[in-house]
């Protein structure tokens, strides 16, 4: 029984890390007033590129390239949302579509083979044909990983999981305890006032969007080399949108996002376990709906004005800022 609990917790953290990484960046973007709906597309690009680059140059290069791709895509979004002042939702959706199409194209066997050969001509034939790549090694933290039940669950993982722990703490600290965080939140709250107080609204929004892109790319890399190193077209399967939902559930707070991430990760894990045991053939579908339904309920709850104020929903989320009066 204890073994079973241990392994469920372990997978819960593994699943949850995916959501956590993606939503940490998104929290920053949304706190600055930018809704990055391109998350799903940036994640899948991260997954596809980490597949290709792990085979060609190894894990480190793969992670760097995935982050870079996320940043590049978020820059496109930033230009469209901040400078061109286009509808962020539609722009983000277009980026997601682009990511889904481009990743499927690049990782398609024949195309991938061409790319791999031009990246690294010395690759063996087997590496050109495979749908798999080596997974990131798991590292046990000495002492901590020996704690009964939770030790293995939290301290026997690959490096990206530990990155997510540290990132959550650091990003919470920056957001709520530093001047930079205050500027970021003020830009999402009331950009005109922030501007008059000398905060560079455009710069802050650019940086926040880029951070969300970088984390989305990292989440994609984690999905592939850290969790499920077997390529399937469209393998993010809406997980980017679940991360988007998680941002709302966490009410734009990095530490609460940790809890929410493991809640959603736990739902995923239980769903797979139930299927494994053949328990209630239909229940997995309803369990899988839970993250979406929980999000809708959260959205309804935060629509109440006094709750909104207490939580601190970014007031200017989704509204472009311009100095001209129009």
């Amino acid at each position: 029984m204890i073994d079973w609990i241990e392994s469920v917790l372990h997978i819960t953290v593994q699943m949850g890390t995916l959501y956590l990484l993606a939503s940490l960046g998104e929290i920053y973007a949304e706190r600055s007033g930018i809704l990055n709906l391109g998350l799903e597309g940036m994640m899948i690009m991260g997954a596809a590129l980490s597949f290709i680059f792990t085979l060609a140059y190894g894990h480190f290069a793969a992670i760097i390239i995935s982050i870079a791709a996320g940043i590049l895509m978020s820059l496109v979004l930033a230009v469209m949302a901040i400078h061109m002042r286009l509808n962020q939702v539609v722009a983000g959706l277009a980026i997601t579509m682009l990511g889904l199409g481009l990743s499927g194209f690049l990782a398609f066997p024949d195309i991938r083979k061409n790319i791999l050969l031009s990246l690294n001509p010395a690759l063996p034939e087997q590496a050109l044909m495979t749908q798999e790549a080596p997974k990131l090694p798991e590292i046990s933290i000495p002492l901590l990983s020996n704690i009964p039940i939770i030790g293995r669950a939290f301290f026997h993982h690959n490096v990206l999981v530990y990155v997510s722990y540290i990132a959550a703490l650091v990003m919470w600290f920056i957001l709520f305890k530093t001047r930079i965080g205050l500027s970021l939140r003020s830009v999402g709250e009331d950009p005109a006032t922030a501007d008059s107080l000398g905060v560079n609204v455009f710069l802050v929004r650019y940086l926040a969007t880029v951070i969300s892109g970088g984390f989305a790319g990292l989440a994609g890399a984690y999905l592939f080399i850290g969790f499920h190193p077997f390529w399937q077209e469209g393998m993010t399967a809406g997980k980017g949108f679940i991360a988007l939902a998680l941002v709302i559930l966490s009410t734009w707070n990095p530490l609460r996002a940790v809890l929410g991430a493991y809640l959603f990760g736990g739902i995923d894990t239980v769903q797979y376990r139930l299927q494994l045991f053949g328990l209630g053939a239909q229940s997995p579908y309803f369990l899988a709906m839970l993250p979406y339904l929980i999000t809708i309920i959260t959205l309804i709850l935060i629509s109440f004005e006094n709750l909104r104020k207490r939580i601190g929903v970014p007031k200017s989320l989704g509204i472009p800022y311009s100095r001209e009066q129009d």
Binding site: M84, L86, M97, L98, A245, I248, A288, S303, D326
Partner: protein, 369 residues
């Protein structure tokens, strides 16, 4: 409102346009499509693929009759959903849930067929009209929920409609893996095949013609609603200025809910056109994202119903071309998805040129800010 940028070649001024000139809209749209083709061509060349052969195949899917029929078939659900989106977007109701509304439309029409097949309910002749009715109603209700939440409680409709997409897709997964699975289907997750009288064959006995008729009727309905009805007028006012709408006595929340119901209903019929037109039965993931493609189509057509019909046939053709490319040249059909996304991005960026005008003033010298 104008901004000046000094360059070594003179002053460039960016001015806000007073009105959207129509020729600019047409020009930017065509340019967006052209640039997207160019971008894809460049990518193909970089990968080392003979792009002229690929583009010949793409053109053929618009010229060969049998491929054209397939294109039209694929265009039907896109077109109907996009017509609905055209109405929703006009009132700034950002419904990105057409995909989910398509799925519940499929549930509704399949449900009616199964009631008929398993329990002998409904006469053969009323079956199809009943399917239209229920899929419209259920699609409409699926869109009404977020509209209600937006109108009454100011809940962001973008996120709710998006989340409901996944709920609808999972609902279909459940039904088709569970109670609706064909008992004689060897355990495959498929419903029974629809009988011919429950299929869209009433024009020339072909789904493509029947669907084309539906698309044109849908466009006519959308045109009449938007340009010749009180509701359409109110929708436009709500979309242009919420305060004006309120002061002039329009019941804003009622308009939003009505408009959303119609929008979702049209997408629901789009779902019907998949199960009783393209596939002839229900299966999981029956829509490869038609509801999302519809968003691009609505944007490409500038929300005009007649242009939506044309644009969706164009996109249906691209989807067909994708299948052909993969089958005959081993180029993944995701290349088409990529092309559509690039078209979308360029159209969006083109909005800027509709809103602003760039004036080149040459070297004037004295006119410094």
């Amino acid at each position: 409102m104008s901004r000046k940028i000094n360059t070594p070649f003179g002053v460039i001024r960016i001015e806000r346009r007073a009105a959207y000139p129509r020729h600019i809209a047409v020009l930017t749209t065509l340019l967006a499509v052209l640039l997207a083709f160019l971008a894809v061509a460049i990518i193909l060349v970089l990968i080392g693929i003979d792009f002229t052969a690929a583009f010949t195949l793409i053109v053929e899917s618009f010229t060969k009759p049998e491929l054209m029929l397939n294109s039209v078939k694929q265009a039907i659900p896109i077109c109907l959903s996009a017509l609905g989106l055209g109405i929703a977007f006009k009132m700034n109701f950002w419904n990105i849930g057409a995909e989910g509304q398509i799925y519940v439309g499929m549930i509704a029409s399949t449900g009616v067929v199964l009631l008929h097949a398993y329990y002998g309910l409904f006469d053969e002749h009323v079956l199809l009209p009943l399917m239209f009715l229920t899929s419209f109603a259920l699609g409409g209700l699926w869109c009404l929920l977020p509209a209600f939440l937006k109108a009454k409680m100011n809940v962001n409709e973008i996120l709710t409609t998006l989340m409901l997409n996944y709920v609808a897709i999972l609902l279909v997964d459940y039904l088709i893996h569970g109670p609706w699975r064909d008992p004689g289907g060897y355990g495959f997750p498929l419903s029974i095949k629809f009988p011919d009288y429950a299929k869209l064959l009433f024009l020339f006995g072909d789904t493509a013609y029947t669907g084309l008729l539906m698309a044109i009727l849908g466009a006519a309905a959308a045109y009449l609603i938007m340009d010749h009805s009180k509701l359409g007028f109110e929708i436009k006012v709500v979309g242009q200025n919420l305060n004006v709408a309120r002061y002039s006595g329009i019941d804003v929340s009622k308009v939003i809910m009505f408009g959303a119901f119609i929008a979702g209903g049209l997408a629901g019929i789009g779902g019907l056109s998949i199960v009783s037109g393209i596939i002839g039965r229900l299966r999981p993931r029956a829509s490869p994202g038609y509801g999302y493609t519809a968003i691009i189509v609505a944007a490409l057509a500038g929300l005009n119903p007649w242009l939506i019909v044309l644009a969706s046939i164009f996109f249906g053709g691209l989807l067909t071309a994708g299948d052909v490319l993969q089958a005959s040249m081993n180029i993944p059909k995701t290349v088409i998805q990529m092309m559509q996304a690039i078209i979308f991005l360029f159209i969006l960026m083109g909005e800027v040129f509709k809103r602003y005008r760039i004036v080149f003033e040459g070297k004037s010298g004295g006119d410094m800010p």
